[in-house]
């Protein structure tokens, strides 16, 4: 069974602050990404293409913390990370700390397909982008009035809502299984609002925020990245399935509600197993998420 799940970040989602109009906006963005990815699977496309499509749509949507509308560093710049993994061949590509790449997920995919490497960072990643004929964009492209305002209030010492637009924990991602049984995962983020330049979270780290292995599972995480790195979160979920015979649901539950809770980190993740079963779980108040599969399931949820 082919299936796709997406997320648009996890965090505190105070129902009161999420006005009906904004909620509709988020739901519409999630739906467009979910359906965009699903359409790839429906016409027999690869899971890799499906996750890249869904994530690109979320990167382009200004309300989510990735690509256009990403959270800003303490210097007021967008600094972006992304990773993609192909579970059929254990291939992976990732970029971190890029400032001028419109769709970091596409550059991550190019790293996977056109270089011998997995991870390129900073100016070197952008040099590779130019060598691969990407057009770079000014950093200003990513900055939205909402993110500038959010940065300013955080720098004034006011507590920034983790969400609306989702910031502290706002990452976007997708996992999919195609009709051939191939699994793929993709994640993209601007990281934390007011972050230190050069800080890299779990998103572009294979095994931490992103992982896919055919026959086992594909995972994309969102949350307090440092904890997900220390716990090797995405690979931990797959190792629990592969080595301990856990169901995907058990594996995700243990990671989020036992291991990360003990460490003091919160967040959420989406995962899909070899049969196309989807798990979406989180330890925060909410997680923007969506799932759609060939059996007719189609859902979008926040709380």
């Amino acid at each position: 069974m082919y299936a796709i799940a997406i997320h648009g970040g996890a965090g505190a989602v105070p129902r009161a602050t999420l006005a009906a109009e904004r909620e509709r906006n988020y739901r519409a963005g999630l739906e467009a990404a979910l359906d965009g990815g699903y359409a790839v699977l429906e016409r027999g496309g690869a899971s890799l293409d499906a996750v890249a499509t869904a994530v690109r749509l979320l990167e382009d949507h200004p309300s989510f913390n990735a690509g256009h509308g990403a959270a800003l560093t303490r210097d007021g710049a967008a600094e972006l990370d992304a990773a993609i993994m192909d579970g059929s061949r254990l291939r992976a590509g990732a970029v971190a700390s890029v400032r001028h790449v419109k769709n970091p997920i596409e550059l991550a995919r190019r790293v996977m397909e056109k270089s011998r490497h997995v991870l390129l960072v900073g100016a070197g990643a952008e040099e590779f982008a130019l060598e691969e004929h990407f057009s770079l964009v000014p950093n200003q492209y990513f900055r939205t009035p909402e993110r500038l305002e959010q940065l300013a209030s955080e720098q004034r010492g006011e507590r920034v809502s983790d969400l609306v637009p989702p910031a502290a924990h706002g990452t976007v991602g997708a996992v999919a299984r195609d009709a051939s049984g191939n699994l793929a995962a993709a994640t993209s983020t601007g990281g934390m609002t007011n972050k230190r330049p050069g800080r890299v979270g779990d998103s572009p780290i294979i095994g931490a925020g992103t992982y896919a292995k055919n026959g086992v599972c594909a995972v994309s995480a969102t949350g307090h990245g440092e904890y997900f790195i220390r716990a090797v979160a995405a690979h931990h979920v797959c190792a629990a399935v592969e080595y301990r015979g856990f169901t995907l649901e058990q594996a995700v539950h243990e990671l989020l509600h036992v291991i990360l809770r003990t460490l003091g980190g919160d967040g959420g993740l989406i995962a899909i197993d070899h049969a196309g079963r989807i798990v979406m779980d989180f330890s925060t108040e909410g997680m923007f998420r969506g799932a759609r599969d060939a059996s007719g399931r189609r859902e979008i949820a926040i709380y």
Binding site: L120, G122, H235
Partner: protein, 349 residues
Amino acid sequence: MSRRNITVILLALLAGTAGSVCNAAPAPASAPVAIVIHGGAGVIERSRMTPERAASYRAGLGAALDAGYEVLERGGSSLDAVVAAVRQLEDDPQFNAGRGAVLNQDGDAELDAAIMDGAGPRAGAVAGVHHVRNPIELARLVMDKSPHVLLVAGGAEEFALEQGMVLVPRSYFRTEAREHELQEARRAAAARATGKPTTLIALPAGLPSMGTVGAVALDRAGNLAAATSTGGLTNKHRGRVGDTPLIGAGTYASNDSCAVSGTGEGEYYIRQVVAYDVCALVQYRRMSLAQAVHEVVQVKLRRTGGEGGVIALDRSGNIAMDFNSAGMFRGARDSRGRREIAMYRDAGD
């Protein structure tokens, strides 16, 4: 998942946590201490290794091994021991880390390092730095003094300055031997280039291109730690980051399982999450440390064509050093009287 299953998992985890707490309590002076180091898996071909060079590598490895061991012997922490050993290897121009690191396509050393405290789990790492004399010390500061795990490039160096570190010019890292290697690698790449130009260049065989350095240690309190530092690949693309600074790939330590430092073709180590996989096999498959290392290095990495090795250590003081390459610079020393340094397959060489 049924409530019963959740309860079972919770109980198992609580038991594990309680166990760690007990084990972390002051241990008798007879508790084993041990340190294992590596200086890379890209060892010079045996035919090109002169007795003088062999003696010089052995002396470098011995100095790092003993520097780390002395910390453990006087009751110091495994974290301090792995830093002492790795710093020594970074300062030794023979090894591919710190001074004498290999040079990237621009002719600069571009350095990565990571450290992990098995008692935490806490970790710190840096990647793509050009002006930090001892990257392992900066990785430690990231762990100890920031809420983050990984800082890269200019942002990492900004943090170094904020922490009062003195930066050094790029020329500090360059050695004549590495300049020569870079020229050779460029020539080899130019010769290979046919039709479509490639930006990403394989290394000529025989150069110690996989010469990452690393250490794992067990202290008297029963805590494990791991540290790894590297200049990466000769003639590498600017911005390329290998497995070394990625927690779970090239570096991992947990008191629940083991401590691992890897060296080899980093991209394979990242995709297979090698260091964490060794520990997951120990913890969840109940493999011995030697079995787990063998499974990962000789079976899983070999299957994909990934060349290299790992060093690993568990809380009982079991040591594993394994590689699927021609050789691996390595050394081990423990409180049971073992002290060895080796380069090729047969330990005595």
